[in-house]
Symmetry: C3
């Protein structure tokens, strides 16, 4: 749970890319195994998830149209042996009303992404009874 | 106002903990006196505050049920001689509608927290006429 | 697109300042040419933008009153030869309802800002056909 700082990446994702897939591919190609992620921009037709405990899966909320990516916040760690980005997003419509949740996918119009690599012991997601894949809980 | 980088913590808060209390205890036990905080996850029955200038106190907004923690953004500094986390949150319901404000409390279902320690001159909150406890203003 | 870490600034913006102007002036006076920015606080009468692709300009959404600054997320890079902050905000009203988009301006009641300087090759915004000023796209 304690890490040192690695590399820092600040970049624009090409228009038309699917944002989550791109972040995961970026992490994989650059061998970023642990890190923090944040971004702003504009997304088209984003799909976001709300975790439904009873049914142990994400309910999918499909938004149509173009939304300001007001915040993207999350992290990178290992799932199934590969770097995996878990990110949540807030999205604004043309009236400034916000929607958000767990990012499932979104087409990039603009995305300015910061990844801060962390170095240390492997941080791995493991399947839980809840249906989620999570790190071990920290103890203080 | 200028700091060097200290330790970096990325961890999952145990399910059932109260998030703000846990972050404050984590900071205290690890002696993190200054830092930045961000997180994502899922919270139950969160209480958020909106500062009411006229009455010089937070109005409390109690949300019932389970919300995606879309963003948690804030910092750690000293208040009353102890590390104190000041964090704001955006929370998404099952339709993806967002609510948010100053985090007062929230029960953790999932919380993935990043704390980036900063090292330097003490950064302390002091009571203000407004009723808030704030750092001195910077001058540029 | 790859940077090393520079200085770290955590500070409170004086009450009454216009937030975006202050961040830009802070960056200029401290010679922060590249970086990440995040903040929380409370803003008065914020103006936010939603980018209208068809008309190639931001539609302006004027909010009246006092809003919790639930998140401010963004970056600093060079535009027209000077440091330029591009930031998006989520803003909460007294019921906890969130609004947000591209920050155009907002009067500070409270603003606690973190700037993480990045050092490396110049990162510059250039005018695009869309009407936006953006960095070159990254290739992976």
């Amino acid at each position: 749970m304690r890490f040192s700082r690695g590399r820092n990446f600040l970049f624009r994702v090409p228009e038309g890319e699917e944002l989550l897939k791109f972040i995961n591919e970026f992490a994989k190609k650059n061998n970023v195994l642990i890190g923090t992620v944040s971004a702003i921009g504009t997304l088209k037709n984003p799909k976001i998830g709300y975790f439904d405990e009873k049914n142990q899966k994400y309910m999918v909320i499909e938004l149509r149209g173009t939304y300001e990516l007001v915040s993207l916040t999350g992290n990178i760690s290992i799932r199934d042996g590969e770097p995996f980005a878990h990110v949540h997003v807030a999205l604004g419509d043309s009236k400034g009303v916000l929607y958000g949740g767990h990012l499932i996918e979104g087409e990039v119009f603009v995305a300015e992404v910061f990844i801060g690599e962390l170095l240390g012991e492997p941080l791995e997601r493991k399947p839980q009874k809840s249906g989620l894949t999570l790190w071990d809980e920290v103890r203080i």
